[in-house]
């Protein structure tokens, strides 16, 4: 199976503190990879290394390679704006811009100049459909996004991310602010999206990882303890630490 992203010997530091240690992670194309582990284990830091969102932190420093289609995204000649266009992100708290629903989705195509006028309208409609939100918002495209409920807002953020047709979508605990019904809707949506996109999701919720992902990586204190097919990892973990975490004895 093809690896969309290949992380090799990756180390990450906040000043003197080493947050990620010697990571080697394969991210398979068009699959859902879940990252689990206790708070502070580095899984969110790892996720934000994949589209270099950590660049905004001045004391952060990365070593090693993150190969996207074989090309290290930390190379000097990589344009970080272009990278984030290819590797989109959905955040923990829904963060639609305080603008209309339409403008939120149109934001990406507008700044990248990929669509204008009626073709922009098409992109907005397609993205909202892709995020399973179209039915609910088609009559209020020009109303403020803040008026939507949190579950809808999160799907709007997904629509906003897919409007620029990224190759990879990173999701940082996308359901932690949502109720169970909205959570299931987002999981269904992830399943559909994985046909066209490679998805990496960080989650605190082990049931979610078990339900919704193809591959799971277990992080502990900045290290990747175990990585494997989700079914194998949850039913037959190779490491004692993994077993005690997923059974709730540890973490």
């Amino acid at each position: 199976m093809e690896n969309k992203i290949e992380v090799r010997q990756f180390n990450f530091y906040y000043g003197d503190f080493q947050a990620l240690i010697d990571l080697n992670v394969p991210i398979r194309a068009n699959q859902i990879t879940a990252l689990i582990g206790p708070s502070g284990c580095g899984k969110s830091t790892f996720l934000r290394s994949l589209n270099r969102m950590n660049d905004t932190i001045s004391i952060a420093r990365a070593e090693g390679e993150v190969l996207l289609d074989g090309k290290n995204i930390y190379d000097a000649d990589v344009d970080v704006v272009d990278l984030r266009h290819r590797v989109g992100m959905v955040f923990q708290r829904p963060n639609p811009f305080p603008q209309s629903i339409y403008n939120n989705v149109a934001f990406g195509p507008r700044v990248l100049g990929t669509a204008k006028g009626s073709s922009l309208d098409d992109v907005v409609v397609e993205s909202l459909k892709g995020a399973a939100l179209w039915e609910e918002v088609q009559d209020k495209l020009y109303e403020p996004a803040q008026a939507l409920n949190p579950g809808q807002q999160q799907r709007l953020c997904i629509a906003r991310a897919i409007a620029v047709q990224p190759e990879v979508i990173l999701m940082d605990e996308p359901c932690s602010a949502l109720d169970p019904v909205a959570t299931l809707r987002v999981e269904d949506l992830m399943r559909q999206l994985s046909k066209n996109y490679t998805i990496v999701i960080v989650t605190h919720n082990m049931q979610q990882a078990a339900r919704a992902s193809d591959w799971t990586g277990f992080f502990w204190l900045g290290r990747l303890v175990e990585f494997g097919k989700t079914g194998d990892l949850f039913t037959n973990p190779q490491e004692e630490l993994t077993e005690s975490y997923i059974t709730g004895r540890q973490g």
């Binding site: 963060n95 209309s100 990406g108 109303e143």
Partner: protein, 305 residues
Amino acid sequence: MTTSKAENGRNLKEAIIEGLIWFSGISAILIIALIFIFLLKEGAPAFVNVPISSLLGRRWYPIEDLFGLLPLLIGSLLVTVGAVVIAVPLGLITAVYLGEFAPTWQRELLKPLIEVLAGIPSIVLGFLGWVVLAPLVQNMGASTGLTAFTGALILAYMSLPTIISITEDALYAVPNEYRDGALAIGATQWQTIWRVVLPAARSGIVIAVMLGIGRAIGETMAVMMVTGNAANIPSWRTGLFFQPVRTMTATIAAEMGEVAQGSVHYSVLFGIGIVLFLITFAINSLATRFVSGGDGRATRRRAQL
């Protein structure tokens, strides 16, 4: 049901506190109303005794009973508009630099410094304008250094700290989640600021600009010192901004001491006060409407374009 003594005491205390709060709220409104009534009482005779056509005249020459307000209105307008044109872009750009680009140490150094600028007495700035700016303006080719432009520069300088400080606060209040959201889509830092951060901070920015304008339009001392105080209407030919003007505020301040109380001149000066009051009132209510009601409409309009 019987009420205990303690309960009675509590109720009384509540009532007193409520009463005090009510009184403070009402007194603010009362004071404004009283000021306006006072202005009206003193100024209204002007609009009765002097015909409107005369008030709209082009000459302000009280000794000959010529009370044309036009030169004063235009003087205030030129100086204020000039100040706004200079201060608003400069202030917004500075605030964006401070809030979005500057490293922390620079922000922590510059922000308090800028706020100190707001505390400089206007008379000191008037001196500065008189001694430093006026000769510069004259060197630029104006017949005198004391012009509307000189006044506009001083006023711009005076309103800058307000505009910068409040705009920076508004930018600071924009959640980082919005910036992250925009950056994660592949927006550049500038696109993030222009399309997400500034619109999100819009109401705060409008308030900053309005307070800046308010400062400019009401300012008296500094303007009186550097605008030349000639109550004439500048002509286009000789450079609109490069001639002496006299503002409404400066007129009141300069002439109040020498008029007989109750005379026509006296009431016209109060009339000018009424006009000033109405202008600031209009600006404030415009700002309020823009801030509170504008959001949804503006977004929709932008979206339809």
